[in-house]
Point group: C2
Chain length 312, copies 2
């Protein structure tokens, strides 16, 4: 769930399918990739069918049938009791609706009080809905492996593991555009990531409460742990020491997933050219910031890994 173009996971699935084939030589295997309708499914299929210059697993493993769905993971994707293994990595932090603006920040990690509570409540609703949809789909004994962005036991989260906080930098730079009258105060306030980073306690709550709908639907937590994966750009910078090179590589990867949030905050009264110029200015400022004082920047991943079983 949340497959994008399928490139990142192709080696994982080759390893899984090879292991599965050695244990079940003749069993047909359906593999269903899901993402939202606007995803580039043609690129996904070209990747899987070996037409994208990436070595696919399809050539070496027989009797594998690849399908795709554009159903949101907040809803049921396959018929009840037909799923053996559900997998999603780095996707479930996207919530189905932004419950509130965040005063003085662009992400819920900077929200306090009632605003923070509103995100927690939205995150809990979506998590429960997502789990209940999976509970319907899973066969008894089936498993979910869900590796999610979250907040670990030490309060760390994506891009905030002790150095410069990435989301604080986004906030400061976006706010700076308003101070410089490049954007309006309305546009400043309109940028909010449609995300909620859950804590380990939030992720595990439906499993600890035996009266919860998730528990009643038969889902049981088998395993939970947190892990930090170091930002590869920051790791490379520590070796090569070239701040400009670090900034030039690092900012485009931030831009690839964050730009839609800031683009959506800009007034539709602006021309497309104006909006692009503002976004270029925004990410240009971030690049200058990193190139000028690179220490502490980086986007370390903080994941909460969950393995969940459907009771038999």
């Amino acid at each position: 769930m949340g497959c994008a173009d399928g490139g990142t996971s192709i080696d994982l699935w080759r390893a899984v399918l090879k292991r599965l084939r050695s244990r079940c030589p003749s069993r047909p295997i359906e593999l269903i990739y899901t993402d939202l309708p606007r995803n580039d499914f043609s690129q996904l299929f070209r990747t899987i069918h070996g037409q994208a210059g990436i070595h696919s697993y399809l050539e070496g493993i027989d009797n594998v049938f690849v399908l795709a769905s554009a159903n949101s993971f907040h809803r049921q994707i396959v018929p009840s009791s037909t799923l053996h293994l559900g997998f999603s990595s780095t996707a479930s932090h996207y919530i189905s609706a932004v419950p509130t603006q965040v005063s003085g920040h662009v992400h819920m990690v900077g929200a306090k009080g009632k605003e923070r509570d509103a995100f927690k409540a939205q995150g809990a609703r979506d998590w429960e809905r997502m789990l209940l949809a999976r509970a319907s789909e899973l066969r008894p004994g089936g498993r979910l492996c869900l590796f999610n962005f979250g907040i670990d036991e030490e309060g760390r989260y994506l891009g905030c593991t002790g150095g410069v906080s990435m989301f604080d930098a986004f906030r400061d730079l976006w706010s700076g555009l308003a101070d410089a009258r490049v954007i309006t105060n309305e546009e400043r306030a309109g940028a909010v990531f449609p995300q909620h980073y859950r804590t380990v306690a939030e992720f595990t709550a439906p499993f600890r409460n035996t009266a919860s709908p998730v528990y009643a639907a038969g889902l049981r937590l088998e395993h939970v742990e947190t892990r930090v994966v170091r930002c590869p750009y920051a790791v490379a910078f520590a070796a090569h020491g070239d701040a400009a090179k670090f900034a030039q590589g690092y900012i485009p990867t931030l831009r690839s997933w964050s730009e839609p949030v800031f683009a959506a905050a800009l007034s539709s009264a602006r021309t497309l050219a104006q909006r692009l110029a503002i976004l270029d200015e925004f990410y240009g400022r971030y690049e200058s910031l990193v190139a000028g004082s690179p220490e502490g920047h980086g986007m370390d991943y903080v994941h909460v890994y969950l393995v969940i079983r459907k009771a038999e």
Copy 2:
């Protein structure tokens, strides 16, 4: 199989699903759309999920799960014995390989002797392979509805039902570009549609021969008929009589499916701009031809409709 963007068939599937729902109120239904990897599957999913300005069937009918596959219909698409109904319209005339160039023509309908035999043999191989893949997929009692371009009992086929033959017009205009030194003789010879139009006898041969692999695999022909559907542009022209309007509407629809064949015949040594200019010239000449002498032009559809059952 051969779904394109799913728009053309959406009303058909709404009608089918509504009827099915009234007979089976609670049965989950998986609907799997297939086409080749280069198909625009995002547009397909936007159509089905109601994001393309077309009324989808998903809103009104519960427990329907839409999936997509990019497997060719020449290969197995779903696991064995899992398919209840296979449907394909206007797709199986595409053959998996062009067996030979066609002397003096751009389509197998103009092929004679050994060249014609080569297309017949390729068509028979692909038809058998396609049917055997479906035989594996179908559950006992399952059905295939295959509505295919073909050649009817009176020798009629797409765009050739008594008036000007569309494929002869393609041949004459393409050849005219070579005579005028706009394209080379090699480019003239290189344009061949990767299609075979089968006769009713060719479509039904595997079912009449009880020693055939298709018959042995359990497929039985329940129904066969041919039908001609009149070209809507020619029908409209008969009413409005405006030849220029007819040509302006008719040629773009021909271009939409035929252009890749002529584009592929052009030398890769030409610039993209040169190739586009040649294609514009080609279709411009076709438009002038129709605008100047509209009578008899048109792309009537000639289909062979087959209903096939998997023996129980």
